[in-house]
Symmetry: C3
Subunit: 563 residues, 3 copies
């Protein structure tokens, strides 16, 4: 019985020890435990009952925590993945001209909205609900979806937006807005969901064969890149992009630069940020043993792939003799995205060096794809095809060789079959993209609604369709600063303004066209200028509110003199 | 005794099995377990003691992990919520003119700093510390705050900044900077914290009655929207915003467009990103059973609400005959924010379709509110009232109908009382906003410090108050590129420059005003131009450092010729 | 035996209770448990065996979850930390002129790529693998790295990029690109990793002495700030930054403003966002008891430090009589970064008020450092030295006083030794920076490859090195909008365009240089203008594709008239 008393001591020590730790759920555990352990067999039985009760509590707590964590995992990474939407939008914004900036912003943003609703209504049911190997048909609009499936459904909803976004870049500056709703709804709600079921759903036919695409090199990037190509071919190049050859020149495309490289950079960096969440979430679980390591590999490899792709594209563009031998920032960033598109397929199980290699292959594929489209005179303003299709293809086909259980390491029949399945998958993806996009865009073109009229293309859609200039001139009229030193004086300036203040020298500079136009135009362009002048005057004077009793006569006077 | 030997076998198998798994905390568990199980009753007792020890260890580990996860949950989502600060700032930046961009940036950013310090010093104590139903009075400046409460306090600190930020948009381009410190401190440190206590603190009087506002449709968005309205009315419209009617025109407001729609888009997208964290963190816990599902609903519904609000506002603006029938990007993004403001109230328990409906109601409310303010000639540059007040109101009043335990589903007395409480809450919120803002802004106006002088408003605050132009002309002087082909030559260009390089054609274009002014101004505007010319020369020549022994005489020469 | 039957009842109740909760791993547990508990002693033995089995399962699940969470913790916060890369890039982008924007974007982005590969290949092995107190030499390129170490390695990889990025700002607008690869590889791959080993690795010699720098005030910020200073001194100021004194003026530096303050603001806000992740991840674990609280302190203090630093710098700049008494946004944001650099050293254990104080010290140090560099005529375009070195130094030296176990609270010998160690560490860091950077940059300068030629500096690197203008003029040619009202007509405008649409008044304004130049230049600058005109015509006409059968003759005609 010494053992028992030892036990009692031990247990009460333990209990004392444990009770230092707050245990909100069971206040009288101590009493129960100490009372119980007093007999022998009966004591043991009661002790065991108490232990069992505590144990079940811990067990329940743990499993509830697991489920919470899976939800939290999805929610957090989905939020980060949402940054990809911002990244894509700003890469596209930077690559169009100011006359179409509002338009591309609207398209790039509305993805998130139209895609979400379309996927909510149709896509999720088709892709992930019960059904056969090709299509599911339950839980339309999430009806009767069990609560524990919501977080994954939410993640898939954000995921799906990528497809439509990539296409919107390829048809930028010329697609008619209503068409955007048509193809956005169809691609996000039907085409992509079906494809994703084949390759990812447990019973999908491609997946059951052995097709393996962890993060979507094929199912997301190749597919949307192929759609982008079909759309770009059918809609035709932008006006001025591929002129007939001029005298003494080879027939080059006339590159049409976008209006803001910093926005491209911002978009690309946000895209990498979002991609880290995108590939981390593709494991679809955080609570199973080993999930953490897969998630780590996926994100680390994403960054290594981006690095490989970026530097490869940068150096190829710099040192190959075809592209003017410049250090092209745009090429580098596109290469990094291509590297990430390539890495997706096997990012869960590529060794680090193979991740870098995958990225390099993606960068090379991007450079090749870009050159081919240029040769074929297909106008893809954001290089969506070269980045996503070529990058994704490189990844989908190289992954079966490079992953840890792949051909290079194992070299057995199973790994070879994996390559075959991925090859088949690539063919299926291309066909599926063509099957959807060729008729859709052909019909829209035949109906005459695919492309905006030439006049609108020349003038830009921001003014015509949206009545919102991206950078309205009136908001940049900083000539308010300079020309009225006398009235504005310095009475409202902080006391020490008279010190050397280098910036004030510049203020005087900010005179824009108006004054210059005032003096030179009446002679040279009499027909259009009066309207111009009137608008200038209107605008400037409009900003002085005559209702206020502060007179600013000098403004008016000086302008009159200038005229 | 066979059972015992079976048990011993089982246990040793288990032990062997378990020992594959690294258990760093108890190295001699195997010996102990195998030794112990050798007697009968004593064996059982010792075995139980060992099991209990292990169990308590697991229990402690689990509870420590729970607490860590709650902290991690807050920290991660708070970081994401911080992106809202960036989002608000850039929506506002895009909506002002360049002459006030630095000013609005400073205001939009200083929120985060002033609000944090103010909430740290006063707000947290008032809102969340022990006290009565109206106000708390412990833990000023987090003094003696228990460590486990820090993470929630941190989250509330970021949350509170939203209020002041929304007001700063409504008074943009005309508020005097010192006033900003006054109302920022008061709203973030006192008014909002008290209100949030009433509605969210366990013993808050509104909450105890049955007021229900999960994410802050009323407590955050309506409140700050109402403050914004009061402030906008008292400070009056910007110069030129509501001119008296011109000849032959109806009395419209003169819309004053902001300087950069892409920044508005960037801000809105970052805002959605931050909103996902904002509503996910409003559950205030990750470790309780069921938290995960609530967090999932909250974020999913946020996005669905944004989608509903965005598309509703877009289509209303496009197809109703009042606004020129354009596809307005700005309207869409404002609608999406209004949809999110509406969804907050019930985002934890709205079914998906109801979330979309809430967003739609928010979008409609935004459109209506915007039209009313336009009619009343109140100038709110960022539509803060229409978005946040109207959107929030729509959400606060619709949530009691639409949530799972709401009037539409239950239709019982309890749910009806919930609606009554929310209605009362809305009235309280409006009154509270007026009680604080009306005297505060009226006094500031009476004291003559509320609004900047007219001259400064015309000239812009960036130059006058900040001496920092948002886009200094001198930094955009790219005429360095073009006019000196002869000296710059191509000696420093990469070897293959002579190839067709489309961009170089553009370089020559980037001549700004200076040269044109050189030739035309001496005749037409003699009085001010010499100063201008001098500054031009100074500036350009200043960039050639005479101390360096590289002479660039042609620069000087050509300029002289031009003069 | 009543106890036993009670027990059986209890247990079966429990089992029923538990079985409501889905337990996927052990379907027949109920039967086993109920069958087993039927004898007496044998029953107990079998019951215990079953309990043990369940317990081991829970134990395994918990430990697997802990490991997953540590990985998830690193991955999530690393993604957020990656936003710092974006933040640094855009602070730098905003602070250079448009002629070098592409260049600085490329440098700021390539960090992430070159740094990652360099750290992957060399840095990790040097810093964190087995070795002595100074250097490690295993796991080059992550070879044979155990899977559970990947997530921390990934985080350290992102962390390391900070060092190179800060230097890139200090040599902006004049460093030759190839040098960037040299120092990027050396700093990220060798210099910083060795230093971080000394201060952070368990057996590092500085750490073993008692050096304490939780988040890198010294090891990251001071080090990179010191490197930046050495680089800036050796490369010399930008042309025009420090002219010899002009007549009647003191010898001031000529401030060269950057081209976009909003980008600076965007960068700074993203930097704060990323910093929250950066300091939260420095705890390096989420699963140990107490980790959550440390993480919370670290992030909360980061924000408080940023607030203190920002407001301090803002007010000093406004009210001290040395800097023109403006409310400088740039100064405020730099102050906030300096405050965060200062807070890093002790952010895990500073009380809140001490965090604010640390930030204030950082802000003061920044202001002082900036003034000193200005006096010494060292040109650091982004104030990298003043922000990171001075801010970091303030933090590293103040932390031993202010932390909870510091000199102010304890005042014992141990805390005093901590100060001594940090002082020693500061000296070591400075020496290490000089040892690496002085020879490296001196050799590069001696070899004549450090700095770009003067002509390229004047013309900007974007055109010369990258052939990518950040804001190409052709993409901003919005005069497409206005001058052709007659042809474009309104046939493609939405039906209600004839309504009052305020924006359309502005459209006419957007005429840029071309037309004005047309009329004025032939007389004043005949030598260069024909080329200019040709390029203008080419460019505009190029956008009308003659291959399309839509003739736009009026475009051509009108232009000819103007000419």
């Amino acid at each position: 019985m010494e053992a028992v008393s030892n036990l009692v001591n031990n247990v009460s020590n333990l209990v004392a020890n444990v009770s230092n730790f707050s245990q909100p759920y069971d206040e009288n555990r101590e009493e129960r435990a100490s009372v119980v352990i007093g007999g022998n067999e009966a004591m043991l039985i009661e002790f065991n009952a108490a232990l069992l009760a505590d144990f079940r509590h811990v067990e329940r707590t743990l499993f509830a925590l697991q489920r919470n964590l899976d939800d939290f995992y999805f929610v957090t990474l989905t939020a980060i993945t949402f940054a990809m939407q911002c990244g894509f939008a700003f890469m596209e914004v930077g690559l169009v001209r100011t006359k179409n900036t509002t338009n591309i912003l609207l398209k790039g943003t509305i993805d998130a909205f139209v895609g979400c609703l379309s996927y909510w209504l149709f896509g999720y049911a088709i892709a992930w609900s019960q059904g056969n190997s090709f299509v599911g048909w339950h839980h339309w609009a999430f009806a009767n979806l069990p609560p524990e499936k919501y977080s994954e459904a939410f993640y898939q909803m954000i995921f799906t937006n990528t497809a439509a976004t990539i296409v919107s870049g390829a048809v930028a500056e010329r697609l008619n807005l209503p068409c955007y709703f048509v193809y956005g709804t169809l691609l996000s709600g039907f085409a992509y969901p079906a494809l994703s079921r084949w390759g990812w759903y447990e019973g999908g036919w491609l997946k059951q064969m052995g097709f393996r695409d962890f993060g979507g090199s094929g199912l997301v990037h190749m597919f949307s890149g192929a759609c982008a190509l079909v759309a770009a071919i059918i809609i035709g190049p932008r006006v001025g992009r591929f002129d007939p050859p001029r005298q003494g020149e080879a027939s080059h495309g006339q590159h049409i630069p976008g209006h803001s490289l910093p926005f491209v950079g911002l978009g690309a960096l946000l895209l990498i940020f979002g991609f880290l969440g995108f590939n981390a979430a593709s494991q679809l679980s955080l609570s199973k043993p080993g999930d953490g390591i897969v998630i780590t590999y996926a994100t680390l490899n994403t960054l290594l792939g981006a690095s490989g792709g970026a530097l490869t594209a940068l150096f190829l563009n710099r040192f190959l003799p075809f592209w003017g031998n410049y250090w092209s920032y745009l090429t580098m960033m596109n290469g990094s995205v291509a590297g990430m598109a390539a890495i997706c397929a096997g990012c869960d199980s590529l060794p680090s060096w193979a991740a870098v290699l995958s990225g390099i292959l993606g960068g090379i594929a991007f450079i090749v794809g870009r050159a081919i489209l240029e040769k074929l005179e297909v106008d893809d303003p954001v290089d969506g095809f070269a980045i996503h299709f070529c990058g994704g293809l490189a990844g989908l086909l190289s992954a079966p060789f490079l992953i840890r259980e792949g051909i290079l390491f194992k070299g057995d029949a199973i790994s070879a079959v994996g390559f075959g399945c991925n090859l088949l998958g690539a063919v299926v993806i291309i066909c599926w993209a063509v099957i959807w996009c060729l008729p859709m865009f052909a019909i829209l073109r035949w109906a005459g609604v695919l492309r905006i009229p030439l006049e609108m293309e020349l003038a830009g859609m921001d003014a015509a369709k949206h009545n919102e200039l991206s950078y309205p001139v009136s908001a940049w009229q900083e000539d308010q600063h300079g020309f009225d030193n006398k009235i504005l004086g310095n009475n409202w300036m902080p006391p020490h303004t008279k010190m050397h203040s280098p910036l004030s020298a510049n203020l005087t500079l900010r005179r824009r066209d108006s004054h210059v136009i005032d003096s030179t135009c009446p002679a040279s362009c009499p027909s259009t200028e009066p309207a111009l002048l009137r608008s200038v005057s209107t605008l400037n004077l409009g900003e002085v509110n005559p209702a206020l009793d502060v007179s600013v006569p000098v403004l008016t006077t000086k302008r009159s003199t200038a005229l």
